[in-house]
Structure formats: C-alpha cells, structure tokens
Symmetry: C2
Subunit: 336 residues, 2 copies
C-alpha cells in the first residue's frame, strides 16, 4: 500500500493527466460503467457557529480496477470577509492542518492500494472537471477567461482552461486587491500567458469563458453580465445568479444527486446550519430546477449534444464532487 504526500503528487500529476483520465472516466460513467456513492455528511455543532463534519463519498471505475473513498473530517465556520460570507475550514488538527484523505482500493482483489491527503487531487480534479466541460462546451476560438476568485481552486481552474483552449488573457477579480495581484503575478509565470488583476467584477465579466471558483456564499456572477457565445462555469450553484441558468441555452450539471445527504446530531434544525443552507437551497437561484439538467457524463459520452453555434450561451454547474473522480485521478497517480 502506497503512502503518498501532497508534495509527491503535486510533483508528478499534471492538469493534462487529470483532463485525460477524467475524460475517459466520464465516458464510462455516461455508459453506466463507473459509479458513485454520493456525498453524505454527518454534522454536529460543537460550539456556537462552529460545526464538525465527517464527510464521505466513494466511487469506482472498474475499467481502471480502482475504487476510491474520499473523506473529510472538518471544523467549519462562516466568517464575513470583504463583505462576503465565506465557508472557512479551521485547520484545528495538530500542525494547523485540515483533514482530508483519499483511500484507493483494487476492484479485483479488494486490497488497499494507496492512501494520501486529498489536497492536491481534490483541487486538480475540480479544475480538470471544469476544464473538461469547457473543452466540450466553450467556443473553439475562446481566448479570454474572466476568473472570479484568487484562491486554491482558482489556480487549478486557470490551468485547466489554459490546457483546453489557446488563451491570450485571463482576467482575475477577487474582492481583496492584494490577493488578486499576487495570484495574477504567480499565474502569469506558471502559465506563460498574461494573467491580469482587474478592479471590478464587470471587467472580469467581459470574457469568452467565465469561471467562478470561490468560497463565497453569495452571488458572484450576475445574469446581466452575460454576453452571446460565453461559457460559464462555477464550483457552487449559488455563485451564479438564477438568471444565468435561466438565460443559458445549455446548462449541464456534474451530478443529479447533487444535494449531499445531511445527518445532523443534536438539537439544531437543518436550516440553522449554514453548511446546509448553501448550495441548491440558495434563494438567489430563484427556485431554478438544476436537478433536471443533463449531466456532464452524458455530454462526454455523446448522449446529449453540446454547443450548436458561436452565439449560444453554455453553462456548467460543477454542483457536487464525486468519488469516481478520485478513483480516476487516483488510478493515474498509481500509474505515475
């Protein structure tokens, strides 16, 4: 059984690896040859406003002979930063660490194959999934990305978009100026294309591909900013105003069983816990029915058609993570 660190994985796994292996895995999923146990969260408020969550998801890609369990053991609170309510994990474990692990198993023998922290793979598979959707949905000649967010997930999204289209410019907006400037400088060097910090969300919104990759609990990108031919992607449903979904010609989601199951210990009602209030329950979505949109797997497997012309507005809502993504990327890590 392999024990791997985030550093070891970061040194060998590229965004191209992730895009390649996820494209295969989504094709299997679209044909019923891969599967998932959706995320389930056990939640308990341990202090006023602070929640402990024990979260699991699993999945398997039998063609790769790999099954995966991804687990998180999180202390979470919801501070207001730069005017936005954010979901923030507290690194309360010794060494100021978060706790997330991936375990890989052989679907042939059952044996454990590897265990590693989820950090790098978690980030790469989210970015690569958005990249895969953009590969299949964005205009072929898309050159400019408008990126909302300058954190950990924003970085992997920038890499993934640069891998699937010939980009000339990424405009990054986030509420804290120092953060967006640091991000722009770093990513310009990493990607070898211009990454420019912009001072208003409206500037970022003038782009061919819109990426929201934030931990905001509020709306990040508004329907009024939509332009013909744009492709829009997000990591949480409520980052996009309900109008964005309504006015898109095509909307794909990652998975239909998109609301994690919540099991709450103690006397709190579900609606009192921000962790549960967010997501598909957000009032800013205006009750839009995301659950009945087609899945990315159906698009990748060729069962549902993608963009028809350069005027259509397309949208991918990466509504929830899936265990089979960890099985797929984990299989590539094992190969490497």
């Amino acid at each position: 059984m392999l024990l791997l660190s985030n550093e070891e994985i970061a040194n060998m796994l590229t965004i191209d690896d992730c895009l390649d292996v996820l494209e295969q895995a989504y094709r299997y999923l679209g044909h019923g040859q891969a599967g998932n146990v959706p995320r389930a969260d056990l939640l308990v408020e341990i202090e006023p406003g602070i929640t402990y969550g024990l979260k699991t998801m699993s999945g398997a890609v039998p063609a790769f002979q790999v099954g995966a369990i991804r687990l998180n053991s999180d202390i979470v609170h919801w501070p207001t930063i730069a005017g936005n309510t954010r979901r923030v994990k507290i690194p309360a474990a010794p060494g100021a660490r978060w706790v997330g692990l991936v375990l890989l198993f052989s679907t042939r023998t059952g044996e454990p194959l590897a265990i590693f922290p989820d950090g790098v793979v978690q980030r790469m598979r989210v970015g690569a999934t958005a990249g895969l959707a953009a590969k299949h949905l964005a205009r072929q000649d898309a050159k400019v990305v408008g990126l909302f967010g300058s954190g950990w997930q924003a970085g992997s999204h920038a890499m993934a978009m640069a891998a699937v289209r010939e980009l000339e410019l990424i405009k990054v907006y986030s509420p804290t100026e120092a953060n967006r400037r640091r991000f722009a400088a770093e990513m310009t060097e990493t990607l070898g294309i211009e990454v420019r910090a912009v001072d208003t969300p409206e500037e970022a919104a003038e782009a061919d591909i819109i990426v929201c990759a934030t931990n905001a609990l509020d709306v990040v990108y508004r329907g009024a900013w939509l332009r013909p031919g744009v492709h829009v992607t997000c990591v949480r449903p409520h980052e996009l105003e309900g109008d964005v979904y309504r006015r898109s010609d095509l909307v794909f989601i990652n998975y239909r069983e998109g609301k994690p199951k919540h099991y709450v210990i103690g006397d709190k009602r579900e609606e009192e816990i921000p962790e549960i209030r967010e997501g598909w329950n957000s009032p800013t979505l205006g009750g839009i029915d995301l659950e009945n949109k087609p899945e990315l797997a159906a698009l990748v497997a060729g069962k549902v058609a993608g963009r028809r012309d350069d005027r259509q507005v397309t949208c991918f809502c990466n509504n929830i993570g899936l265990g089979f993504q960890f099985a797929a990327v984990g299989a590539r890590v094992l190969e490497l």
Copy 2:
C-alpha cells in the same frame, strides 16, 4: 495517529467494555446526541457470480469526542454449503486477507486518532449490541441460550449473553457437526459454563434466549419453535421466519434506515445481485414491516417500554450495523 492490529485490540478490549460503552452510546443516540450515516454500498459484478463491493458507514458520539468511518472493500460470492446459500467474502487481497478498516477522528479538532482493521471490533460490537438488547429484554432468570451458528459472530454473541445473564447452558446448533463440536469445546473453556453441541435445530430451540448468528441466506429459526417468555435475537432479518416477528409481543430493531443504499455499476439489475436480494427483501419474511418497529436506542434511552412480564415473547432484530457503534467502541479502545 494510532495504528492498531486486531491482535492488540483483542488483547485489551473485553465484551464488558463493549457492553458498557455501547449502553452509554445508545442512550445518547436515543436522545439525539449521537448520529449515523447509514451504510452505502457501491457494487459491481467483476466475474459471473462474484461481486466487488466498496462499503462505508460512519457515525459519531460527540460526548466521547469521537467520529468513526468503517469501510469494507469486499469480494463476495454466494456458494451453497450444507444445503444453505451462504454469503462468503473471498480473501482475495495479498496474504489471503479480507479488507475492512475503521478510522477514528476527533470531533473537536478533526484530527485522525486511529486506524485499525475492523475484524475484532466488528465482531465484538455486533455481539455486544445483541447482548445489550438481551440485557433490556430477556427474562431476568434466563439460564439457557439456544445458539444457531458456530462461526466468528456466534462466539461474540455467546460471550455477550454470558455477560448479561447468569447462564447455565448454551446449546449450539450449526449444520456441520465438526464445526459445532469444535465451537462447543472452545467456548466451554472460554466462558467457564457448559456449551453443548446439539444435533437438531429443535433441540437448540428449547431455550430462554435464542440467538441466530449465521451467514445463512435462508431461514434459521421458525415461528413454530417459539415458547412463552423467550427472547429471540438475530444478525440478519431473514434468519427469523416472518411468523417469529408476527408472534412476538415486542420487536425492536437496531435502526430504521435499515436497507443499505445500493449503487450498482454495470448492466446487472439490482434483483440479480444476491447481496441486494437478502435482508428485508427476503420473501420468507412475508412482507412484515420491520421498518416501523421501535429502535434499540429508544429502549435503552427509556423512551419505549421493554418486557412487561415473564410470558411475553421479545425479539431484537440487529438489522444493520451502525457507524456510531465503531465510534463508541473505538473511543474505549483509545482509552485502553
């Protein structure tokens, strides 16, 4: 983070420890102060008649500051042994091993506290749960146990029953004579009371407490064998004929969300997979509605009354395992 072996746990954890800590934990559960994410199974047929299953359950007892995930990565088939269809896990992992693990986490900091194979704790918590139910439901003067099964689970059940009542005799029946004789000899020595192998199920059925602890997919104990005042317990709902439930004055189950969620990869329909056919779907239950029976936690927490007199027939169906049992017993292991 502690890494423990089955041997280390077996050397320190007693059935009395398990009974004590589970009684506390069930009381918390009955008052909404402990919780579970029920078992979910990802299944794929890897060869005709052979299934790979990746199974998870989790739970937490915040008062003990412990959360647990129990996982199994199983290769399973269903051979016919001594006329009974059995569910048999194939030890296909290197070293001819099964793969089951328990991970413990702190609900205060999120940190991983321990990881260990599930074998010993799995067995002890199932036996101790049946023991806890018998403590609250069996007649105070129960002296004779009729035990169906002579395997791994039968042993922990014998220990648990001997811990909660002053027993004089355990009669053990299982279809293979050599197995029941070996079991009787071993357990007589372990428990210091007479454990006698009997040659027919009817002989075992003449007892104050009936324990079914088998891996049979068929009926083990019949309604016609019920005697006034008996307490009956089982590890799988279909071990007891539907009539046993119907004719019992009191029936308790372990948990209402008692059907594991199944996620099947590939073209097999659910009803073609024996793993799914068993349990509450069994036709021998005659459609009895176990899901609406009260839970053991309600009994232990004093919310539902137990046995009223020495003539009543009581029944505990240990219908499904729960993650919080691993959190509770795991917390005791950490103390020890």
